[in-house]
Structures are given as C-alpha cells and as structure tokens.
C-alpha cells in the first residue's frame, strides 16, 4: 500500500514537472504570410489612457491587413533599463513611447531611427516648431514625435483663494513671481496652521530647471568652440531666481512648509484637501488624482504658474512624451505610418484626454474634449503657447548630472544647508566635469 502511494506521488511529481516545463514554451508571432507585426511599447498607465491606447490599436488592426500592431505595456518606473537592455540585445520594440529626456542618450547611442522623411507633412506642420525642437538633435535629426506634454500649474483651494482677496490670475494674465509671493503670504496662517503653498521637492531638478525659463534663465547654455558646439552650465541671477524664491518661502517667509521638500506630488494632496495648503504646484495630469480623491464639497481651481516680470518671461520648460522608432526595426516605414495614425488630431486628443495632459498638435488642442472649462482644461490649453523645450533636453550627461550632482545640491539648498554660491559651484563646477565627459 505504502509503495503504491509512493509510486503515485512520484508519478504526480513527474507529471507536475512535465506540465510546468511544457507550459514554459516560448511563443512569438510569425510573419510567414507576409503580414508585418509591429511591437508598440506603451507607457500609458491610467485606466482611461490604457483603454484609449488599446482601442486605437484595435481599430488599426481592424483596418490594416498587412501591418498588425501588438500592444506591449511598459512602465514609467523602469522604461530606461528595459529599453537599454533590449536595444543592446537587438530585441527592441518597433514603436517606442517614452519622454524626450530619455531620448538624448538613446539617440546619440544610435538606437533610434531618424524620422525625417518618414512622417507626413500634415503631422509635421500640425505640431509647432518649438515642440519639434525637443526631439531634434545630433545634427538636426528627428528622433521622435512629441505628441503629449504637460505644463506645471498651481492647483488651488478655491475658497481660500477667494477669501484671501488676491487677484485671481488667468492664463492671459498670470501672477508675476512677486505677486505669487504676496498671495502666498496672504493665504498663510502663522504657527504652521496653514501654508500658502507647498513645494513638493522630492525630485527637485526637473522643476528647478524648467521653471528657470520663466525668469529668463536657462542653466544649460551652448558655447560655440573650435571643437564644435558644447553644453555649458550656468547658475546665476535669472537662472536661480525661482530657486531662491522657493528657498525664501520655505526658510524665511515660512509660507511653505519644510516638510514639503521631501514630498512627491501625490503626498501633498491630503494637505490640500484638508485646507493645510492653499496652493500646490503640480504637473497638469495631477488634476485626475485631485478630481478622484477630493472629498465632497472641496472646491478647487487650476491657475497658471507665475511668470517673471521682464518682457517675454512667461514661458516654462516641458519634456514632451514621444513616439519613436527603433533603428533596428526592419519595418521603419510601417512603424512611422502607425505613429502618424496615433497622432492624427482626433487620436492625439483621445490619448491626451485619457492621460489628463495636453496634446502638442494645434488641431487636437481645439478638440472640444480638451478645450473645455471643466477641471481646468482650458487653463492648460491657454498655457500651451508658453511651453518651450526644457533646457535639459538634448544635453548629453544630463541624467548623470541630475542624479549625482543636481539632486543632492538642490535638496541641500532648499533645506538651507548650503548658500546660493555653494549651490552654483556644485551645479556648474562639479556638473561641468560630468558634461565634459560626454562631449569629448
């Protein structure tokens, strides 16, 4: 009896092993019938955005017999590692969704196709030249289609804003930074009971660099040398004006809490809902979380970010989301056709709506689903003309500079642990050593 049980147990184990191993077999799509199959690597993550992407892919597959698209889901958290490995291994997806800051290293590394000559005129003329700038590098080559972008906005508690009596800014007449400072003071209740604003500075570099444009700064400049154009770092006067203001609000005026410096965007929302913070500078897409999480009766509004006082000082830097084609893809033309389809005005608007961000195309911006009052969409649309390529785009070594030098330096600066000149020294002197390594 016992022997029989043992035999059965062994048989079951062998069967289990056989089943497990058999089910491990690789799959893969064959193109034996002449059909081309493209892998579309998408970073959509919100429910509506995933649904919009999948619906568009399904529609494409229904109407295109010879080119099929397979939807491959990626994640913002891991996109760089995953793409780098698949590029190195020659297994990269054909169509790649990413953001323009990630493109620089991939473009210079020779992993992405130059899309000049592959895209239709309709698409090229619909997206403003200033937006194409963000994906144009390496001698004028175009490495992606910038199709979505999001400005930084102020999300404000409507009641506290009205009660403060300050002028309510509009996209046409935003606050100057001085007005913003005064408004934050008016909305602050001393003793830590309420702060006029909270700066979520867990990742301080992107916003510090992008907002420097609003006071006429750049931080990254170009210098023409005998050895070609070189990237240089500068952090003085207009480059540092917004950073100085943030530090002032946190450490002197106390109109912004120190605790915010360690927060991510989502962390600030409970305080906004509880009336602890009157305003929060956040990316445009955070409106979705606000709309979803706000308690009943909470009234909020979207305001444009403040601007500098000088002429033309009203822009901010953005890093658009992009669609690119892998250089190793044997079907570059088909991949470019699929990108053109995804960025048709109606489709671009659908994708933007799903992600709660702005389309880059002029026609898509006029779509009624985007151009509406509700949830602050129209403020974003009006801000679209003020958006410019982030100064960091196209700078080789930016990622390393950001991780190793700028992040700790800005954090220490906002914590008041280092002076303005100390920050400037770190960013420019130590940072330049890194940039120089990439442009030898």
């Amino acid at each position: 009896m016992r022997a029989r049980v043992r035999v059965r147990a062994r048989g079951a184990a062998a069967l289990l092993a056989a089943v497990l191993l058999a089910s491990c077999g690789g799959g893969g799509t064959g193109d034996g019938d002449g059909t081309v199959t493209l892998d579309y690597y998408s970073l959509a993550w919100q429910k509506e955005s995933i649904a919009a992407n999948k619906a568009l892919v399904a529609r494409w597959n229904k109407t295109h017999r010879s080119v099929k698209v397979r939807y491959v889901q990626g994640s913002w958290d891991t996109v760089h590692d995953q793409l780098l490995t698949s590029f190195e291994g020659g297994e990269a997806p054909d169509v790649i969704h990413d953001d323009a800051s990630d493109l620089t290293d991939f473009a210079y590394g020779g992993y992405l196709a130059d899309l000049r000559g592959l895209l239709p005129e309709r698409l090229r003329s619909d997206i403003p030249a200033r937006t194409w700038d963000s994906v144009t590098m390496n001698g004028g080559r175009v490495y992606g289609v910038p199709f979505l972008q999001e400005p930084r906005v102020l999300i404000a508690n409507s009641r506290l804003l009205a009660r403060s009596g300050v002028r309510v800014p509009t996209a046409q007449h935003p606050w100057t930074w001085d007005e913003f400072e005064r408004a934050a003071r008016r909305m602050t209740v001393r003793g830590g009971k309420r702060y006029g604003v909270v700066w979520a500075m867990k990742e301080p570099v992107k916003q510090s660099v992008n907002l420097s444009l609003s006071t006429g700064g750049r931080i990254f400049t170009k210098e023409r040398t005998d050895d070609g154009v070189k990237n240089r770092l500068r952090f003085e006067g207009r480059d540092s004006a917004v950073s100085e203001l943030i530090r002032r609000q946190v450490n002197q005026d106390r109109t912004a809490p120190r605790s915010g410096l360690g927060m991510g965007g989502s962390d600030t929302l409970p305080g906004l809902f509880a009336g602890r913070y009157a305003m929060v500078p956040l990316n445009f897409s955070f409106r979705q979380q606000v709309q979803q999480q706000a308690p009943d009766g909470f009234e909020w509004t979207v305001l444009p970010m403040p601007r500098g006082a000088g002429q033309g000082q009203y822009v901010q830097g953005v890093v658009p989301q992009t669609l690119s084609v892998s250089r190793d893809s044997p079907h570059q033309r088909a991949a470019a056709r699929f990108i053109a389809y995804m960025t048709e005005p109606a489709h671009m608007a659908e994708l933007a709506k799903g992600d709660w961000i702005l389309p880059t195309g002029r026609t898509a911006l006029k779509d009624p689903a985007i151009n509406r009052e509700k949830d602050g969409w129209r403020v974003g649309v009006a801000m679209a003309r003020t958006l410019r390529k982030s100064p960091a785009l196209g700078v080789r070594g930016y990622a390393e500079w950001s991780d190793k030098v700028a992040t700790p330096a800005f954090q220490r600066f906002y914590q008041n642990d280092v002076s303005s000149s100390g920050l400037s020294r770190s960013l420019t002197r130590d940072g330049q050593l890194i940039l120089d390594r990439y442009q030898r």
Binding site: C24, G26, P93, Q293
Partner: protein, 275 residues
C-alpha cells in the same frame, strides 16, 4: 519564571509581532479604502467604509490572474529544478571532499557577489543566442542558475548535520550510494529541503528585474512586473489598485509558507527530544 518576567516576554513578543505585521496590515487596509479616504490627511488604521472596488479596478485594468499564473509556472519550475539539482550536488560536495569541492564552494560565494545590472546584458545576449529571450523557459533557466548557489549553500549545512554513521549502517545493510541518499539522507533532510524550496520559490516569485528585461510579450509577464504598471511618471501612483494588487501578489508566498511551515517546524523538532 516570575509572572512579571513572563508578561514582559509576551509584551516584547507582541511588539515584535506588531512590527512584523505592520506593513502587511497597512497594505491590506489601504487596499480596502476609497480614493477619498486615501486622500485624507488623517489616515486611519481601519478603512471607514471598506470596499473591494480597488480589487475590481486592479483586475479590470491589468491581467493579474494571468500574470499570477505565469509567476506560479516560472517560480514552481525554477524551484523544482533548482532543488532537484541542489540535493545530490550538496551531498556530493559534503561527502566527497576534494579540490573540486573547494572550488565549487568558492564559486558559490563569488557568484553571489555579482549585482544584477552587471550580468543582465551579457545574460540577455546569451539567452538571445539560445532563443530563450521572451520565453518563460528562459526565465526559469535564469532563476535556476541564480538560486542554485544559495540553495546548495543552504543544503550543505543540512547534509553535514546528518550523522555519517547512519549512512555507514545503511552501507553495512547493503544499500548503495543512491539508495542511501534516497532512503536515509533525504528523509532526514526534509526540513532543509522545505526551507530551500521556500527560499527558492519566494525569491523567484518576487524577482523583478530579470522578468522585466527578459519577458516582452504581455501574455508571459509575471506578477512583479505587472505591479509597476500602477505607477506613473514622477512619483504618481494609482495607490488603491496598487495596494490591492500587492495584497494579491503577497498571498501565494504566505499560503506557501503556511502550508510548509508545519513541516519545517516539525522537521526541525524531530529527534530533538529523546524518548
């Protein structure tokens, strides 16, 4: 022991249990909260209005069931193969002392020192040449190779604890090496085997980076990779569904442990007391 001392012991034990259970309880509580409750500035231990909406949404937006099955297949296969190889290998390394044995032990130690990022691109190229990229079989091979050194290391200790005299007695009774291994050593190794199986399974179940890089086809991706899809750019997260999916991802490891822990404890205690 004095009653006060005993009470102190229980109190310390309770504090330790709370410390261990806190992340899990918080995760479970978060998974049952509404978006409004998650956005509240005064977080509560227990959800005010518990709801399964986050679980529904997690299942609706991501293929959780399929990815859990993939994880089960990959982790189960890798564990089975790793342990099947590790048992005779550990026995041989302990019982047949030689230069090869020393070199093998050194290799085990050295192999544990390589960080993932260092090996991932060469590994990817190797697997690509073997047509094992984007295949669960390829991932199983990687997990077996990755888990084998530590499994061997663990089992060696258990093999060493089996008295050699028992094997000699079996040999006197006419049992060969294989028979001795099967009928004498293996039963005594049960607790070690259970511990190794648990280690191997949980490591493979939770592993993220290799799965992320090696599996491209959505239908083959494992649970740990699917979890990252609830994260957006710049720290944005779909917190409720993420917590719900994380609870589901934790369950198999907990169940597996619950099923095997009696065996583990029983095996450890066997023979500890005479009579």
């Amino acid at each position: 022991m004095k009653p006060l001392g005993r009470a102190g012991q229980y109190l310390a034990l309770l504090c330790y249990l709370v410390f261990l259970a806190f992340p899990l309880v918080w995760l479970l509580s978060t998974s049952l909260k509404s978006p409004q409750e998650l956005g509240s500035i005064d977080p509560t231990w227990l959800p005010r209005h518990p709801s399964l909406d986050n679980f529904r949404e997690a299942f609706a937006t991501q293929p959780l069931a399929r990815s859990a099955l993939n994880s089960l297949i990959v982790a189960g296969s890798a564990t089975l193969i790793a342990v099947t190889i590790a048992v005779p290998a550990a026995y041989a390394l302990v019982r047949y002392r030689s230069r090869v044995g020393k070199a093998a032990t050194g290799w085990i130690l050295v192999s544990q020192m390589f960080p993932f990022v260092l090996v991932i691109i060469p590994l990817f190229l190797l697997l690509k040449n073997a047509h094992l990229v984007d295949s669960r079989a390829g991932l199983v091979v990687v997990y077996v190779v990755w888990n084998l050194p530590f499994s061997l290391w663990m089992l060696q200790g258990y093999v060493r604890a089996v008295p050699r005299s028992l094997e000699e007695a079996a040999a006197v009774d006419g049992a060969g090496r294989l028979r001795t291994l099967r009928s004498v050593v293996l039963p005594l190794l049960a607790p070690g085997l259970v511990a190794t199986v648990m280690f191997s399974f949980v490591t493979a179940w939770n592993e993220f980076f290799f799965a992320l890089v090696l599996l491209k086809t959505p239908e083959k991706q494992t649970m740990s990779v699917i979890l990252t899809r609830f994260l957006g750019a710049e720290g944005a997260a779909d917190l409720g569904p993420l917590a719900a999916a994380s609870v589901l991802a934790t369950l198999p490891s907990l169940l597996f442990f619950a099923l095997l822990q009696r065996r583990l404890a029983g095996g450890m205690l066997a023979g500890a007391v005479k009579g």
